[in-house]
């Protein structure tokens, strides 16, 4: 039996639910050395800013149990280079592009949405709400305040081409992820991506100094999967009609199944791309096998399965 793998996220049709997570696959070029980038659902590109950004000082990463801490600080060449170099490369290979954007302020988000909308062939815009919020105390992100996050989403929505789906990328370490999700949906997000990295820290026990420069970093990898699945589950329960791209520690096809059962319509592979450059194609294969072994005719039949048969929350 050949399962139908197609999925739909906020008006975006994907051939299958396996996508890459923003910042964990560049724009697909490097990973395309290991598998056909057009074969997966989509590539979510690294969050692009208006201007070039040099990012944070090194050391930028530390390994932690079943995870890693990182702090790259949105290093990138800026939207011009992205639109001239990276996006055309990806589209020319037949890849689908979810373009992640990161603004230094609400206004920049609008400008980015406008610029991305002017380009052809983009599948969706993903709004990275884990960016420093200039209107909040230092260290806070837009996502930390549902109303600030909603303002960003609203701005993006109003500047983006009306047929371009806008996804809001949520974080788990916020006061209330369901409230954040609801605020973004009210601001007319077409879908939600969750979760971003979780703020954490490690101390290098050789030097007794913080292991990544600046102290705090973002935790990713399988360690955070239960947090991510919990967020997807709770948000899907509260907003069952809103499509979700689930992510956080996906390593195998079974993990894709787990996220979809919790309520995701598509699932992103992030940190695992670092440790296993052909992960996306492997995960897609494993997922397909797992789906068929369980007798599902359609991937979409799994979405939200963990909520059925009367599960409480």
């Amino acid at each position: 039996m050949n399962a139908d793998l197609r999925t739909r996220v906020g008006g975006m049709d994907l051939p299958n639910p396996v996508v890459t997570a923003a910042g964990c696959a560049g724009s697909g070029r490097e990973l395309s050395q290991f598998f056909d980038i057009a074969s997966i659902g989509a590539v979510t590109t690294k969050s692009v800013m208006l201007e070039p950004h040099a990012g944070r000082p090194a050391p930028r990463m530390a390994e932690t149990p079943s995870g890693m801490l990182s702090t790259t600080g949105m290093q990138g060449p800026g939207v011009d280079v992205f639109l001239q170099r990276d996006l055309p490369w990806l589209l020319a290979r037949g890849g689908r592009a979810i373009v992640s954007i990161a603004g230094a302020g609400v206004g920049e988000f609008g400008e980015l949405a406008r610029r991305i909308s002017a380009a052809d062939g983009v599948s969706a815009i993903e709004v990275n709400l884990s960016c420093p919020d200039p209107a909040a105390p230092s260290g806070r992100h837009f996502a930390d305040d549902a109303s600030h996050a909603a303002a960003v989403v609203q701005t993006v929505r109003s500047h983006a081409r009306s047929d371009l789906p806008v996804l809001a990328k949520l974080a788990a370490d916020v006061p209330d992820v369901v409230e954040l999700a609801s605020a973004c949906v009210e601001a007319r997000a077409d879908g939600l991506s969750m979760i971003n990295t979780v703020r954490g820290m490690a101390v290098d026990t050789r030097t007794l100094r913080p292991a990544v420069a600046g102290g705090m970093g973002g935790l990713s990898g399988p360690a955070i999967r239960p947090l991510a699945v919990g967020c997807v589950y709770r948000v899907h329960e509260a907003l069952p009609g809103v499509p979700i791209i689930g992510m956080g520690g996906v390593r195998t096809g079974a993990d894709v199944l787990e996220f979809m059962a919790a309520g995701a319509s598509a699932v992103a592979v992030g940190t695992t791309n670092f440790s296993d450059p052909s992960a996306c194609s492997r995960v897609l294969r494993e997922f397909t096998e797992a789906l068929e072994a369980r007798g599902f005719a359609r991937a979409s039949d799994v979405v939200g399965a963990a909520h059925r048969q009367g599960a409480g929350a």
Partner: protein, 299 residues
Amino acid sequence: MSDNGPVQVRCPVLNVRRVDAYYAITVVAPGIAERFRSGQFVSVAVGGDHSSTLLRRPFAIHDVKPDYGGTVEFLFSVRGTGTAWLSERRSRDLLDVVGPLGRPFPLPREPVNCVLVGGGSGSAPLFPLAQSLRRRGCRVDFVLGGASADRVFSAITARRIAETAAFTTDDGSFGTRGRVTDVLGRVIEECRSDAVYACGPMPMLRAVTAVAGSHGVPVQVAVEETMACGTGICMTCVIPVVGEDGITRMVRSCVDGPVFRGEQVRFDDVGTIPFDALGAPGWKGSSAARAAESARDIA
């Protein structure tokens, strides 16, 4: 997917040898062996499928041989969890290896005199380099250093394949007591070196670059930054490097390196974002510089 890019293979371990304080693992990996050029490295998954240790460990390729379709050897000393695990591998175990990764050492067109400087495990990539250089008719001299005698990698091979080989150890247990840079100037003079190649820890590369500079000799350095992916997608391995155009960029040492021209690495600013780096806080490139940037990046 691509013919000269890296490949990911599950390859059998041919053997694990112990040499002084380090280990040499040879794996059967024809796809990597055939693509290899000296200076490139492999990254190896450690700990097995259910390990809590997610990230691959990068190791310079020390040798490739045609046996069994193509074998690849790397050397390492046990440092932490990953190398401890690797040291326990046995023949026929499978290793998940990605490679060859990174930009190789550029080779001179002419048969010039080259001195190869290695610190600790940084000596490893210099051996295949020495062979490539000698095939081109270059003279090769070695300067190898380490904390102690057992930390100087492959001293015997160095003696065998090079015109001269000088050794230094911090504790004086082998060769000259001191650092590679304590003898490098003399070696450059005596061997009339035209080029320096170096690999090792950042402070050593910085000192080697300074010595080479003071002798007016160009130097290629291979850096060993911590790397989460090794393939260019994570942006955790960046160092500040000055481009041909004079602009400093935070470049990825895994794909834009690990080999750089020594003079272009801003050693003093490693671990920082220099204020004049492209995209540094407050940085405002002229619109001309930015136009150049996008043209360059597209090229």
